[in-house]
Point group: C2
Chain length 271, copies 2
Amino acid sequence: MKGTRPGSRPIGVFDSGMGGLTVFRELISRLPGEDIIYLGDTARVPYGTRTPETVIRYSFQNSSFLVKKGIKALVVACNTASAVAIDDLKSRLSVPVIGVIEPGARAAARMSAGGKVGIIGTEATINSGSYQRTMREIMPDADIVSKPCPLFVPLVEEGWTSGKITLSVIREYLNTMKRRKVDTLVLGCTHYPLLKEAISEYMGDDTVLIDSAVEVAKEVRKQLRASGLLREGKKKGKYAFFVTDSVDKFRVIGGMFLGRPISNIEHVDIA
Amino acid sequence: MKGTRPGSRPIGVFDSGMGGLTVFRELISRLPGEDIIYLGDTARVPYGTRTPETVIRYSFQNSSFLVKKGIKALVVACNTASAVAIDDLKSRLSVPVIGVIEPGARAAARMSAGGKVGIIGTEATINSGSYQRTMREIMPDADIVSKPCPLFVPLVEEGWTSGKITLSVIREYLNTMKRRKVDTLVLGCTHYPLLKEAISEYMGDDTVLIDSAVEVAKEVRKQLRASGLLREGKKKGKYAFFVTDSVDKFRVIGGMFLGRPISNIEHVDIA
């Protein structure tokens, strides 16, 4: 998939696992002409409970793999990796690096009517303070409530995206947000959009939910266009997937995330 | 901690993370004179959702680390690693290898009045069929019901070991077991003993819960004694802990699992 002109090279996307396919889905919908290489580090998922040092190390290993494939831009689809590793990646890689935090925070600032913004994510994402810091830079007077929701990922992976248990867990995590009447809630983890309906049911219609995946795809498009690297035209892009654990599991569960069958998946060892 | 006589060498224990400390706790209570080296692969936890190939690879890496430390016996505290890697480990390592499956299954056979045995564990443990196979060898006419309970580990790690949500999840996973009136239930994951009270509340007094940790410690004692390697006497054993992710997190959360403070923890890279 290495092209000769810079614009014809593929976009690289990495995630700790399959959740990043929600970002991949938006990328192919908004940039249909681009070739994309997706790397899911399924053997070392989840990143959200690990220390920053470990997440940074894994992020560099993933990035090197993709850079060696000749990518023209790197999308860090994983919120945790974006939260703790994005500055290091930006300063040390020679390709443009786009994470999910900034686009998500900018969308929240744009959508928030009263400046009361909630942010939810994994422990590592929330504890890094990265979303909170970015929000405050964009919207200094924002009233920010943040909360790690570690059970949301296993709930989604169990397929329990609705029902009594899921609603109880949502109530347990989000009752402070609801009491403080946040008007905008950033879903700061790639798995959370699959709980959108249930979260919306609990929070009510007055709370806007921000799905970072959509915002990231818009940002990638903007940056590629600005640097003359956007690939347009009628030719549809080609996709390749690499995973560090089971190809079969990725095909089945990944298909759920993507909402369509996945092919061209290869196993790769990254360490 | 390398001793000169074989019996004075330490016992090695590995687990995918901190759950194995429930096994460690029983070991120090039943073998107080033994030195023990514990390795928690916290950077790659959990094993329960990974493929057998990956779990086997990780298990060998962990074992080599401990064998190089001069251990006299290896305890595989992780149910998932025991379920998929124990035969390979036994045939390729030169020290005795004790997993958690056989002792747990034997205890279930001993305790079961009517031969109706339930087995719960991670996806990888249950899908491997290892507990089921071992149960059937020991108790050919057993009526076995098995069920993966992937949300139990995150519930324990969130500290939600009781309460409405936990009881709802238990009901969701165990209603078939209850309906089929299992008389003995094997807690086939090191985290599950922390849910013992809640599970017992749901299942009722007629179901005996088997905590493999206790059984493993008895088995280790038996094997060491039989081979003349048991270290007795008044001198208390020394303990060393190695983790592949954060030392601080292990100190705090590990202390919860162990029920007492942990010191002498070192970070190590295993790959």
